[in-house]
Symmetry: C2
Subunit: 457 residues, 2 copies
């Protein structure tokens, strides 16, 4: 199709949904360091992990060599109910900015969970069901992952217990309601359903809870329940593998419509699942020397794990119970401020993304909250979609790059990931509209306190 | 394409979006009765209406003869950002029900307004802009129409004042927030910005307001503001004209994929805009004798304008200020109970739908709230989309028809309109989940009170 015939939406047909996930580790010149067992300090074996995670997912987690991993038919069946997701030319945003750049965004929010999380949730529940598991546990903070998992569990008929950070479950009653509507058992954390929960409640009966505590409760329940495992929605390699479908669809759609590989690809980065999924297939080409694409990770200035963190072994949770991961981290003891982008409020970063950043394949930048919401509202008004605060970090960077193209009069192609919608984040928009939103940049001394919590490895 | 090759989504390409709306009145053997001027009791002229409504829309409102009315290019440009909307085979629902029926649904909720309302909002704002108007007013209750109009006004650069029923603006702060994020001036009604508002407030300073009052305030402000008009999201003929794009896309997609015309088409009915838009092109064929399709309107048992109302001239608002419309109505004095499907809580029905029902082309049924939410949750779990309470009325009827097909072993094709998502209706789902939801059927005596408010015409 000629370039001037490119539609507003670069639509793929159902049979163009990828049939295999792309495992970027297979093309990385150096793999990331292995996970270490928190007790022994030795590399984790499959057996170490299988007590907590589903065996099929452990296999994917440890497979650094298989380039393409087939997507099972029973999962493709589910994907077809919501994919291919739209790849949209941001014509109205381009016009508003008066930029010569072409801007595209891959919109993953057109499902009830409201984000890309459903891609991995469905995969994880599918495998759990195949392995004969009857229930799963997880934690949720902002609620996108909990919602996605509840939807997938309802679809495949697997029971789910979600430990939701207590203060979030009170502040976000509608998120809680969606999760419960899909049949999940939602328990505000800390709770008296676990030993760790009881212990925390005994120490502080009025605590609002934390993600670290919720993770610990979910793992404890999984381990002590028959035919049950714990599942996680970001950070880990198998999650990024599942999310590679995002970038693969982008690549296929650009090829189908004759659009050259983007000059710049931008994603917001919390645990790294969206960014990793979006860039995987494109960065594979860059590693092989076939591409000059720039990759930009955007994180909140209030939680700057890549731009101001250390590259070190650290725990994945504040409870210090998970395997140790080599990653960019602010220290598991770092307490992020109440930035509204709950999904980016994480002390660490995916080991894959961390390694690619360390090796110079990815750039990173940190953005302040108010400027991010300025970009979000501009985008909403011209493109129509109200973005999630997380996604708006990518919008901010995309606008900045497009404005730079205007200055230099360069016709670059920019792709960014619009990971989700902001329909459950309206308290943040209210504070933006009321001009009560504030910015926060942690001081060096604050960051040092986080670094002091790093294990000595 | 062979029938067994039908994808999960019957996708149309961008250039298959209809280029003209279908005006079902042109094919109706008898037109509906004319609107009457509330003062003179005589048929309304264009001039009567142009003081309140945009002239282009008045022209469409009064045009009963032109079969196809072109969609302007500048509006098609906007439609391309969100259309064609998905037409989805409900494979998982069929499997869950074990029915031989084929079920399809047209999903209009994949936009930030969360419903089909945007189709007409964009059209109305487009024409207002073309006519040199600089601002619009409207009312909103549940909030879908207010959101859609705020999005369209932000896109075309037209100022908007939304009178939102005060109690709704307090109960739905997030709806209010979305509308304000898109830049609209939201005024809880009654307010001191109008004479009618001041009068109502003087009589009862603590009133929570009503849709009737909000309409009156919006009209008053439009009439007394320079280059300003009032716009309405349902009931009127030009709204149903704009919504015909829903049914036209369904018809085009069925033709493209070789699916025979549905045996049954189902839509929820409040003011009639969704139902009218969905069935228009199909009912045109039925009127011409080319089709045996059944059309089913589904309304809430708590507000049964078609199944228990009178076919009579009545006011469109409780304030008795609008032209008189010949329609099925419970009387403008009828006060619907607090059914959660706010969009269906209207005393009247579109004159077009009313006439088609009167003439036997449409069936109607009324459903109780709890049964509707049972259907909504079943649907959400298997099909993944959390439906709006309004849309769930259509789901309930579609499930009932599919179950009947199972009983009779008939392989019928069923199409229903999934008008929107329930993301802003979670208080209703909470009451369903908590089993505190109740049903309500008005007594004959209550209905009689409404009928007593009918004007003597």
């Amino acid at each position: 199709m000629a370039k001037n015939k490119i539609p507003a939406r670069l639509h793929l047909d159902e049979d163009e949904i990828p049939k295999a996930w792309y495992n970027v580790r297979a093309d990385m010149k150096e793999k990331h360091e292995p996970f270490l067992h928190p007790g022994t300090g030795k590399p984790c074996t499959a057996r170490d992990l299988e007590g907590v995670f589903c065996p099929s997912l452990v296999k994917q987690e440890l497979d650094q060599d298989t380039r393409l991993i087939p997507i099972p038919d029973g999962l493709l069946e589910f994907y077809r109910s919501m994919r291919p997701s739209p790849l949209i030319r941001a014509r109205f945003l381009e016009e508003y900015l008066g930029t010569p750049a072409e801007i595209y965004y891959k919109f993953e929010g057109n499902n009830t969970s409201g984000s890309h999380k459903l891609n991995s949730a469905a995969a994880q529940v599918y495998y759990a069901k195949q392995e004969g598991l009857t229930s799963l546990t997880t934690e949720t903070g902002a609620g996108q992952w909990g919602t996605a998992l509840a939807m997938a569990c309802a679809f495949y008929g697997v029971k789910l217990t979600v430990y939701m950070v207590k203060i979030s479950s009170e502040q976000k009653p509608y998120r809680k309601a969606v999760i419960e509507t899909y049949g999940a058992n939602l328990i505000p954390s800390p709770s008296d359903t676990t030993e760790i929960g009881k212990k925390i409640l005994a120490a502080d009966p009025n605590t609002g809870g934390s993600l670290g505590c919720a993770i610990s409760e979910a793992i404890e329940t999984a381990v002590k329940t028959d035919k049950c495992r714990y599942v996680l929605g970001s950070v880990l390699d198998h999650v990024i593998l599942h999310q590679s479908i995002i970038g693969q669809e982008c690549k296929a759609a650009f090829q189908k419509y004759g659009v050259a590989t983007p000059d710049i690809i931008i994603g917001c980065a919390g645990g790294g699942s969206n960014l990793g999924g979006l860039i995987s297939p494109f960065i594979g080409d860059k590693i092989k020397g076939n591409s000059a694409t720039r990759f930009i990770a955007v994180e909140p200035a209030s939680c700057p794990s890549m731009t101001r963190g250390r590259f070190a072994y650290d725990f994945g949770d504040t409870g210090r119970t998970t395997p140790l991961l080599k990653m960019y981290t602010l220290g598991s003891g770092f307490m992020p401020s109440a930035n509204h982008a709950g999904g980016l409020r994480y002390h660490g970063m995916s080991p894959i993304i961390s390694k690619l950043y360390r090796d110079g394949y990815i750039e990173a930048r940190a953005e302040e909250q108010t400027a991010v919401f300025d970009a979000a509202v501009k985008f909403a008004k011209v493109e129509g979609i109200l973005p999630a605060p997380e996604s708006a970090h990518a919008i901010k960077a995309a606008i900045d790059e497009a404005v730079e193209c205007k200055r230099t009069d360069e016709k670059k192609t920019i792709l960014f990931g619009l990971t989700g919608t902001g329909y459950f984040d309206l308290s943040a928009y209210i504070s933006y509209n009321n001009k009560t939103m504030t910015d926060y940049i942690p001081s060096d001394a604050e960051l040092q306190k986080g670094f002091d919590s790093l294990p000595n490895i």
